[in-house]
């Protein structure tokens, strides 16, 4: 299509939209269709901005769990100050929930004067979680939820630097400016209540670098996260039900594992060796017994010499449980932190986020199997580990002093 043809049609349709906007009969569906027609090789990418896109903060569940992952992550681990107990935590959660409610819709936080920085949330989500000490000591009894620390694993190389905190705030966005502003607002309102212990910044492929729904690639080069529960499976595998806890229903649990990748050592492995380690092809993530990423691996297949095609010690073989309930939602982000003290000049790895209705039943058995034996362990080690209760979402889309994240758990019924 030539330039003039496109602009003429563009004008016509813009006129139609303006007309439709004045009346009531013009459906959004029609407009979206018109827009899709406009997307042609002649249309410039600059027209397709996503800064104004939003993800609803209110809902039965907090956003940022089953939400399709955004490009950027900032995970904040904070410890409550001495003297901040239940009432103080409730006031903090009220402030934070109000901030999140506004920022995720592109509105400035209350009393924030940097109003322009809030304008483009780019699918900003803010997800809050409570650590084991909060769950056991600060929530009124009777919630019926238990949050135990993860057991030690043989592959752990944990440091306090990335350890368990009282609170976690997961901030995600497709835009690093929206992310930085959201983080700053939340940290400002956290002052006097809690102190930041760590920030784990992560990233995935940029928005629209590949089609939506693509499985991301980690920094070892592997397609990572192929096996994830579907939206319909999330009800059983991710979300707490009223049978689990009346006050916690709609919430979930989160395990954070900071996994350092020893990329200099990984470099020395041949391409075939790398694929053997995982049990998947590097190019498209297909199991070594298949052709496409989502093909079911055949763990019994053998090659012409009678050896298994997918090695019993390979990552996907070890990660696969015969127990169908031993599955969880993975939402991992890559990390790179400059570190001139390392030969590589930087520390790289994965911020592995696992969401499950029951970490002990769903996550721990898999992690224990991997720690016990997984070829991949030669090139990775867990340097950080923490678990959190992710309370249910808020009900209202407008501010309400009694409706904040954690309100049902913090307020005695």
């Amino acid at each position: 299509m030539d330039e003039s043809g496109l602009s003429r049609r563009h004008l016509l349709q813009t006129g139609a939209a303006a007309f439709g906007g004045a009346g009531l009969g013009w459906s959004v569906g029609t407009l979206v269709e018109s827009e899709q027609q406009l997307v042609s090789p002649g249309a410039t990418a600059a027209d397709r901005t996503f800064g104004a896109e939003t993800i609803a903060f209110a809902g039965l569940h907090q956003a940022g769990v089953t939400t399709s992952p955004t490009t950027h992550l900032s995970l904040l681990g904070l410890d409550l100050d001495a003297g901040v107990h239940r009432a103080g935590l409730a006031r903090l959660m009220l402030l934070w929930s109000d901030d999140a409610r506004r920022l995720t819709t592109g509105q400035p936080a209350l009393a924030d004067e940097d109003i322009e920085l809030a304008e483009l949330p780019a699918r900003l989500t803010v997800t809050f979680g409570f650590g084991p000490r909060v769950v056991s000591d600060l929530l009124p009894a009777g919630h019926g939820l238990a949050l135990a620390p993860l057991p030690p694993f043989r592959t752990d190389r944990l440091t306090n630097e990335w350890g368990q905190t009282d609170l976690v705030v997961q901030v995600c966005s497709d835009d690093p400016v929206a992310l930085a502003h959201g983080r700053r607002v939340l940290l400002k309102d956290g002052r006097g209540f809690a102190k930041l212990r760590w920030t784990q910044d992560g990233f995935r492929r940029s928005r629209r670098a590949e089609p939506d729904g693509s499985t991301t690639r980690n920094l070892m080069g592997q397609v990572d996260g192929t096996v994830n529960p579907s939206a319909s499976e999330a009800n059983d595998l991710v979300w707490l039900s009223p049978d689990d806890s009346v006050r916690g229903a709609g919430g979930t649990f989160l395990a954070v594992r900071r996994i350092r990748m020893h990329l200099d050592k990984w470099d020395r492995v041949s391409r075939a060796g790398k694929e053997f380690t995982i049990g998947r092809r590097l190019d498209n993530g297909a199991p070594l017994t298949g052709a496409e990423e989502h093909d079911e691996p055949d763990l019994n297949a053998t090659d012409e010499h009678g050896f298994p095609v997918i090695d019993p010690a390979s990552h996907i073989h070890r990660a696969r449980s015969k127990n169908h309930a031993e599955r969880f939602l993975r939402r991992a982000y890559n990390y790179v932190v400059p570190d001139p003290g390392l030969p590589a000049g930087e520390d790289s790895g994965l911020i592995f986020l696992a969401f499950a209705r029951d970490l002990t039943a769903q996550f721990v058995p898999i992690q224990a199997r991997l720690a016990e034996q997984d070829l991949l362990n030669q090139w990775t080690s867990a340097v950080g580990s923490a678990v959190y209760l992710i309370p249910p979402g808020v009900g209202q889309t407008t501010a309400d002093a009694g409706d904040f994240v954690g309100s049902r758990l913090l307020t005695r019924a």
């Binding site: 906007g21 409730a90 006031r91 009220l94 402030l95 109000d98 209350l110 009393a111 002052r191 006097g192």
Partner: protein, 191 residues
């Protein structure tokens, strides 16, 4: 994309209208004149995005967007709250020497029909003269607004830490500079 842009303002207007209507009906009605057929002024007034600057003692102020959801002009004459014995409607004016000063607003805050009157640091605000309790961030404060016709409405505001807009109140309020050291000393505990 022009079409997409054309949609956004319409959606924003709808959202704003929904917000106003959802918080615009909390008149106490206690002081309504039963002989009057016209609705009282207070029933049309709401405070959107209300907040109060955190402080331990002394002075502070309340801000937000006062809205008038009626066809008539409405005048807010005074304000009261349990947190203080004295509140004033203030404006910020430039003095003869060029500095800014706060003073009581003569005639109160006048809200145009379907108008919004913004209260913000450095501008008009509800001055809280002498706190009788510490205001901790995250608390909710209730303020009673009294209209020129004597009707009243209760509005709420969230206490927020704030250090912006070069806000300084006289009389040595220890919370008024809002600096980190000062606010970190603030007891956020449950006492």
């Amino acid at each position: 994309m022009h079409i997409r842009r054309a949609l956004i303002p319409a959606a924003a207007v709808l959202t704003a209208a929904a917000l106003v209507s959802s918080c615009g009906s909390d008149s106490t009605g206690a002081t309504k004149d039963p002989t009057s057929s016209a609705p009282d002024q207070a029933s049309a007034v709401a405070l959107k995005d209300g907040w109060v600057k955190a402080a331990r003692t002394g002075m502070t102020a309340a801000f937000g967007a006062l809205t008038n959801d009626s066809d008539q002009e409405v005048t807010i004459a005074s304000a009261t709250s349990d947190i203080t014995g004295s509140m004033e409607l203030h404006e910020t004016v430039e003095t003869s020497d060029g500095s800014m000063a706060m003073q009581p607003k003569k005639g109160g805050f006048v809200l145009a029909p379907h108008g919004t009157h913004t209260l913000e640091p450095g501008g008009d605000h509800l001055m809280i003269m002498d706190l009788n309790q510490a205001l901790k961030p995250g608390q909710t404060v209730t303020i009673t607004l009294t209209m020129a016709d004597g009707s009243t409405t209760d509005v709420t505001a969230t206490v927020k830490r704030f250090s912006g807009a070069d806000e300084h109140y006289q009389n040595g309020d220890p919370g008024d500079d809002g600096g980190d050291m000062d606010m970190n000393d603030m007891d956020m505990g449950d006492g």
